[in-house]
Symmetry: C2
Subunit: 177 residues, 2 copies
Amino acid sequence: MKDKGFITSGERNGEKVTGFDKGNSPFEYMGDQVKNQKIAFTTTNGTQAIEKSKGAKKVIIGSFLNVTAVTRYLLMSESNILVVCAGWKGKVNLEDTLFAGAIVENLRNHIEPDCDAPLAAQHLYNLAKNDMVKFLSNSSHVKRLNRLNIHKDIEFCLTPDQYPILPILSGDILVAR
Amino acid sequence: MKDKGFITSGERNGEKVTGFDKGNSPFEYMGDQVKNQKIAFTTTNGTQAIEKSKGAKKVIIGSFLNVTAVTRYLLMSESNILVVCAGWKGKVNLEDTLFAGAIVENLRNHIEPDCDAPLAAQHLYNLAKNDMVKFLSNSSHVKRLNRLNIHKDIEFCLTPDQYPILPILSGDILVAR
């Protein structure tokens, strides 16, 4: 991919892949470092979740960093909504569930849950929202990340609305809108 | 199965199956009605969850009605524990998650969660435990059951420790222990 002009990026089990230009920390993707660049990105769970979602009418990428942009897009949408939580090593992690819960909370007057999973996520979000970092400090995923010294990444990723953009899947490419 | 001396029982989508002796209400299975009888039972989710769990070393059946018996058994066990939530029409429901959370809470000093799902269930149980009926009154499953007029069943099933027994799978048969 490097030959084709891509920045190569990604992680396996939370650590940068040998030979790749960049790892998984958001701080490696700021400002001029990546402006107008194409990035080839692979992660343990995220890119697989996107791959498995390709049957959907639209695939958008959300996190707390763009939660309002995601909410606005979904409020305008008339399709069914499935929040796919990427997880950690193929398993459930609470950060994802909290974000799903934030979406349910934001859309609560506009949706009819299809099962109790959205309600569970909503309860957890409301329980955690006043101090998500503290709430998550007891979760297994964050404990693992602490071992990898990237607590700073997590704290940043839990900060709402740092970006107004919405990545949308177009073919094999995520395009910011 | 009737020819073989079994009571035939079960539900599909929450309602008794035509031609069967009994449905899914616990009140149909009390005292002399079923004492020393063999019951052939099928449900929308529960019996499938048991079928899919057959690879396990031991399969035991738990609910709030025997939560202490389940906890005691698991405390003595040295195996990994997987709580399989049967669900509702193949989907997540909160009652199951609350029960899973109660098990995590009871075993909290004895287990190392394998992902964040047990922690999420534990948080939800602790949020709900003082009034589970009220907590669940907003869940989609209970709303559906309300339509079927079996709120009484739910309330009973949320009552801890009505029974000291533990059903254990032995071949194709659940045997009370």
